[in-house]
Structures are given as C-alpha cells and as structure tokens.
Symmetry: C2
C-alpha cells in the first residue's frame, strides 16, 4: 500500500509531516510512504533536525498552496504539492493521500482531479469529535446548501465509514436540528427527517440538538456545512474558553494553587481523553479514492494517525463499499419511482 | 410603571414567579407588579409557602399554555395567562410583560397581539450569553430564513438594546459566519456583510466565527435562528459536558479529592461569573411594547432580573428609540433608491 503525504501542508510543514511519516513507518515498516513537496526544502529540513529520509520516496512539487490562496488555485497554480498528489491518486499510482493544507483547496482539488464516485451528489468532509464517544460530523466543509438527497447520501457514507474505520457495528445516525420533533427546522430538514427515517440499513435516531452532541447520542451527525462549522467551532471555542478560565482560577490564590498541583495530572489526562487527533484527520467521503484532510495545526502524532486512518480506509475497501451502497440506493429509489409512475 | 408577570410560565411556576415578584418589589417598592394566572393556584401556592401577596395585583386567567401546546395555541386556546398578558400590553394597560413560558408561544403571541413596530420585518428573540463580556445573540427564535434587510434591522435593534439596557456606548456588531473573510457563507451572508459595513451609526466589526464568540469579540451577534440555536446549544452542551468531566476528575482519587476541596469555592465562583441570568431573560426586539422571555428553568432570581430588565427597557424608552431608528433607516434607504431611480 502506498500513501502520499503532502509535505508542505499545515502550519508546521515540512517538519511535522516528515516526523509523522517517520513515526508511521516505525510502527508499520511495510507501509510505502511518499512525501510530496519542494525537494530541497524537505531535505534541508530533515538534515537540520537530524532526521533520516531513507526508505521514503520524495516526489518533487515546485509550488505550495498557502492559506491565503483561494481554493480554486489548486487548478490555476501549476505544480503544487496538492495538485501533484491528487493527480497521482487519480492515476491510481497511490492508494491514498493525506494533506494538512487548506481545507477549501483539498475539497476542490479532490473533486476536480480525483472526482466524485458515480451518483454522489456532493463529497462531504467529515470531522470527528471525540467526547462521550467519537462522532463523525458531516459536512464540515464550506457547502451551505443542502437537501434531503444530499443528507441521505451523507448518512449512507458516514454510516459505512464509522462501521469500517471505527468498528462501530450499527452506527447511530442523527440529523442536526433546532429541536427533536420531526417538524423542526427548515423545510429541507423536515423532508430529510422523513427520508432518513425511511432508509433501509441505516440506524436513524432522529433530530439531534447541538446541546446533545457532546453526550454521544449518535455516531454520525448529518448537517450542512454552515451549521456543522458553527457547531464545531463553538464547541472548540467554548472548551478553550472554559479550560483557560479553569487555569486562571487555579492560579488565583495560594489555596487554589496547591489544589491545582494535586489535580493537574488528572485534569491533563481528561483533556487528552478528548483529543480527536487520535482518530486522524477529516475524511473526504464520496471521492473515488481515499483523501484525508489533517488539521492545519497537525503535529507528527496527528499526521501519523491520519496515515493510519488512510491505511484503515484502504484495507477496509471503504471507497468501493461506499460506491456500492450509493449505487444500490439510487437504483432502489429509481425503481420505486418507476413503480409509482407505472 | 406597571409590569405584568406570567405566573404560570416556566418549569417552576407559580412558585418562582411569585418569589421573583417579591424579590423585585423588596428591591424597588415603587414598582407596580401584576401576576397573571389561575387565581386560586397562585393564592394557594403563596399560602403553602408562607408568602404574602399583599401589594400585588392578581389578574385571573383560566388557562395555561403548556410546553406541549403548539405556538399557535396562544391564539386558539381561550383565556391563557400569556394571551391575557399580551392583550393588556396591547391595550397599554401595562408597560411590559415578562413570561418564562413556551418560547414559540411568546414569540407568536407578541407578534399577533402586541404587533411589530411599523417597518420591522421580523421580531427577533435576543439571548444574552455572558462569557468574556455579555453578548446579545439574535435571532435565537425558530426563524430559519433570513436576508440582508432582516439582518440590518437586527443590527440596529440589537445595538440600541445593548446601548440602553447594558450601557455599552458603542456596541460592536458581528455577523455569525463560517470564516472572517467578506466572501464567506451563503449569498445572503455576503450581501449582509456589505449592507452592515455600509450602515451609519453601527459599529460593524465584520464576520465572527463561532469559536470567537466566547472571547467577547462583539457585543451584538447577528444570525438566523437555526445557526443561533446551534451556537447557543452547543456552547451550553459543551460547558455542561466539560464541567461534568472536571467534577468526575476531581472525584477520581484521594489526591484529586483533596485538590477539589481546595478549589471548589473558586471554581463555583467562576461558574457563577458566567451565569447569564444576571442579565435577565431574552428580549423580544421589534415588538411595539417590551416583552421579555425568561428562561424556562428560571428561579426567583432570574425572574427578578427579568423584571428589572423590563424596567430598564421601559425607563430607557427603548421601544420608541428602536421604532425611530428603524423608521429613519427605511426612509433613508427609500431616499437613496429614489435618487438612484430618479
């Protein structure tokens, strides 16, 4: 199995991608890993930090898509590490691609060069949050429009992903909404609730309010990109804000400082328990080959986990299974409609 | 000044509304307060708890809108405490109305019976979260559609509210979005960004991501009801989840238990600092008389604060000022359009 890693993507590139590859290779020497990016930058960075690149393929790409570049620059900017990776993946010269680069560019590039699976209306970016249990939230991309057909496909793809990659036998699928009753939300939510309820083989648990996500009431949460973004970022912002304030409180006087020393280790352990980088990066579902968008601030540990996540996706034959499920569903829907019309 | 209080609204009615009125009256004996609800229920509850109703007007209403009743039952169900309150407010027999009843019914009832101010396209429910600073988030109702005209009115109304009621000289207005750049979000968000930037007398600070809300980057946050609901509930859910886990961590072994004892008081103080019930309930902005929706789980303290919030709204002549600002803005917009056409 050959996995491509964007050496230039993310806040700490190329150092952390290099270190992530080293960690992955140390844990699984069979893995074939290729680093894509400016060859001299990769080599001088490795040299500077005393890291050996032996056993890795280095694929040169002259340019980099920065965070300031618009998503479509993945098409207009020649020879970027992202584009080179997508083109190799499209030509089936590798099995998966991991990048911590710009989310928009990864989403656009995957769709433009690797293409969606037949019948998939929209590729979804799934983000895993790990609180009471890992929850795959999709879409967390920039798509703000949605309808029942898109949401049904998200449910099918997300459900398969959680089954294959996270080993959850019967993933519970929820629809993010402003209330649990079936009439809540926009017209599209009401229609989606009905369509998801009628879906064979999907364990739909109904509407899920944002307040319940942390409690682990579902394994897959279906949403549009706008609400998904608001959900994720507010959880992130709130947890940073609270932990900062707990820290300040612990530093406020001698008594709390002593108390703080006694609980420090366990509190840190608690924080670590909710670290979602354990689960790798954000998978792009509905694309015809595995693409993982690692978090922009990924360190070596996160990159290593994203590489193992890619391995798991490939080993589980996830993309083919998603392709088959989407095909079966659309054929069934078509048959039902033809029966109705006939 | 006469303020109406729904004695039957909320999870702890009529006891907490009665106690809230007593607390408000004790702090401000000049205040004229009327409790609306089933007279015998109010009186027997007061008697049972040894509370005196002397000095309060009791306005009888035979029925109650429960949390199970749909919002429109405020019109169909006769003689409910909510409806009686709205009708008295509409007839100007009182200056403000406070209810901890069903949000939907309060919003529908206020619009049906008290009516929107001339030119107001949609009344907004504002919710205050008190983290780094109090932030008024509006709309937090059930409205899921939006456009630039609605968002501009939210900005005008919210800005005046924070000026008059919270004493913020130049409230910073933000637009909830999935990125800070002006091209982010739906087409309506892009148009709203432009319209808000061009608004005279409003201190628009641009798009605000959900992660930044807790850090206090704005005083007024404009959003549609769907995203507002997701934002509020995820912040609420996340903070409950984290505090529960901190508590569990403190109870995990002898060392952390001792540490916990040392920091307990300060941690509780921290939690209390972020208690938004300090700021009362959710004001309905754009309605032609002051209506406050107190939280369903309001205790006496929250009801008292909602009453004082209503007093502040009345004293500050907030409704007239909002009416004037909306009128001036629509006249100005009309003049600009006529100039363009002419």
């Amino acid at each position: 199995m050959k996995i491509l890693v964007d050496a230039m993507g993310g806040d700490f590139a190329p150092l952390e991608p290099i270190k992530g590859c080293l960690a992955a290779k140390a844990a699984d020497p069979q893995l074939s890993l290729a680093l894509i990016g400016k060859k001299d930058a990769i080599e001088s960075c490795a040299k500077e930090h005393g890291l050996s690149l032996e056993g890795f393929e280095i694929i040169h790409a002259e340019n980099v898509i920065t965070m300031e570049d618009p998503p479509l620059s993945v098409r207009s900017k020649p020879d970027t590490s992202l584009r080179v990776g997508f083109e190799l993946l499209a030509k089936k010269e590798a099995d998966a691609f991991v990048s911590a680069g710009s989310t928009g560019a990864v989403q656009v590039g995957a769709t433009l060069f690797v293409k969606r699976l037949p019948g998939v209306k929209r590729a979804a970016i799934g983000t895993i949050v790990a609180l009471s249990c890992p929850v795959l939230i999709l879409d967390c991309g920039a798509n703000t429009t949605y309808n029942e057909d898109i949401f049904v496909q998200y449910a099918i793809m997300g459900s398969l992903y959680m089954q294959i990659v996270c080993g959850i036998e019967k993933p519970r699928v929820g629809l993010l909404n402003i209330g649990t009753e079936d009439h809540k939300g926009t017209d599209e939510h009401v229609k989606s609730y009905k369509a998801l309820s009628a879906l064979d083989g999907i364990h739909f648990v109904g509407n899920v309010e944002a307040s319940a996500v942390a409690n682990g009431v579902c394994d897959v949460l279906v949403t549009d990109g706008f609400a998904g973004n608001v959900l994720l970022k507010s959880m992130e912002g709130m947890s940073k804000f609270l932990l900062k304030n707990v820290k300040q409180t612990l530093n406020s006087n001698l008594k709390t400082k002593i108390g703080g020393l006694l609980i420090k280790k366990d509190l840190y352990g608690m924080k670590k328990k909710f670290d979602a980088s354990e689960y790798g990066g954000a998978p792009l579902l509905g694309i015809s080959a595995p693409v993982i968008k690692a978090h922009g601030n990924s360190n070596a540990y996160a990159i290593k986990n994203a590489i193992f996540q890619a391995r798991q996706i490939v080993q589980g034959d996830t993309v083919s299974k998603i392709a088959l499920a989407v095909k079966e569903f659309s054929e069934k829907t078509k048959a039902i409609e033809e029966t109705k019309q006939g």
